[in-house]
Symmetry: C2
Subunit: 253 residues, 2 copies
């Protein structure tokens, strides 16, 4: 049993929880809680940490995991950012998806994210994307790290189910357009009311940064700029809210 | 100039920032930041606190406010929960709205919230409601306090523009139904796909608690239970996301 906070494995978990650079270097990320750990594909789980009291009461079945470490309750609490930790944490390999254009011949629902910065927004967007039937999410390199613990928590498990890639959006948009997929950018000004647009069966939507919207070079690459009309004195909607309204409208069937 | 953190006025601001009971007792709430203070109707502002450096550089015009207190930068920082406070904070009277059925004869867009607990969700819901043209928001008594600083920040100023009341939802629903207004409850199970429902011109939507949905007694009172279809393994959507999808669909015109 690990009972020291300065144990090398414990120190490494802390690094993976706090540093996106470390996550990238190791190709791993950390997830916490019974439900999330159970949602992780078992072949991706590299190591499981279980608290002493959870191991004793047997409420979590860890028999199917290869690398299990029991950790004293005190050390486990030092890893957790919840007040009453459930006592299970896993190090998981980062899923590796790619953009598979050939699967998009008949129809596709793509979501492109340009510089989303708020972890809660990114997680909620992934959760909503799965619910709305999005086939794939493409994120620009300056989005908040998808393996940030706050993002993961907000995805409610979608991180293991919705295919995502991180790539240069302009290049991806050019590739999609060359394949005949229509790309719509959500922009505040000079654009079409989304409810008056006839969306194609093979479509991609671009959502921009919370404060600044879609960057100029990406906006220049899209086929059409669409807008969510707003009443009152509202200048913009929350990014996750805008995404949900558009996804549920455009990908209706 | 106030230069002590134990000044009675400073202590009172801290109470109003942290305690919903205190806000209710005094009928006041605190708002921070140049933009939010400028959005507050001037007749509701009871007292303005401005930091020494903001008062000196003259970048905020406080001439139109009655009760202005200059506060040392150090004391101001102790009031603010932002890292770089803008130097202006106001105590504002709680707006008093009422439900005005007679104004709803031709058409109305009402939103009823049953036990929303997350401050960010409640604020985002108010912001989205203004954008979607909601006429009035009714909150159950067990919603998170709308004057909580986190709620206010997430509303982006809508708190001063969208009429809201706190009331018993069952009683309000009975009143609305007696006036011929249709009440739709968003529920996960046993309900109609919202995209297949013909919504009436005078409608109210009920959104429930993040974890438990609409309470049983409220759900029993609605006319129809509607559902947002979800693909994948998603069990529910974020409450602000559900609200946005429904508002933008139902209140389309």
């Amino acid at each position: 049993m690990i009972s020291s906070k300065s144990n090398a494995k414990i120190k490494n978990v802390k690094k993976l929880l706090s540093s996106s650079k470390e996550r990238r270097l190791q190709g791993l990320f950390a997830i916490e809680g019974v439900r999330l750990v159970k949602e992780a594909p078992i072949e991706l789980v590299r190591q499981l940490f279980i608290s002493e009291s959870l191991a004793k009461n047997g409420e979590f079945d860890s028999a199917c995991y290869k690398n299990v470490e029991v950790v004293s309750d005190e050390v486990f609490r030092s890893l957790s950012d919840t007040v009453t930790p459930q006592g299970v944490l896993a190090l998981v390999e980062q899923p590796a998806w790619s953009i598979n254009i050939s699967s998009f011949e008949k129809g596709c629902k793509l979501l492109l994210l340009d510089g989303i910065q708020d972890p809660g927004n990114l997680g909620t967007i992934l959760r909503t994307s799965e619910a709305a039937g999005v086939d794939q999410v493409v994120m620009s390199e300056d989005c908040v790290d998808i393996f940030n613990p706050k993002v993961i928590r907000s995805t409610m498990g979608s991180i293991f189910r919705i295919p995502f890639v991180i790539d240069d959006l302009v290049a991806v948009i050019e590739m999609l357009k060359a394949e005949g997929i229509k790309v719509y950018g959500a922009a505040l000004e000079g654009s079409l009311d989304f409810r008056k647009v006839e969306f194609e069966k093979r479509s991609a939507i671009v959502i921009g940064n919370e404060g600044n919207g879609i960057s100029e070079k990406v906006l220049n690459a899209v086929n059409k700029k669409i807008r969510i009309p707003m009443k009152g004195q509202i200048e913009s909607l929350n990014a996750a809210v805008s995404t949900a309204v558009l996804l549920y409208h455009i990908f209706e069937n």
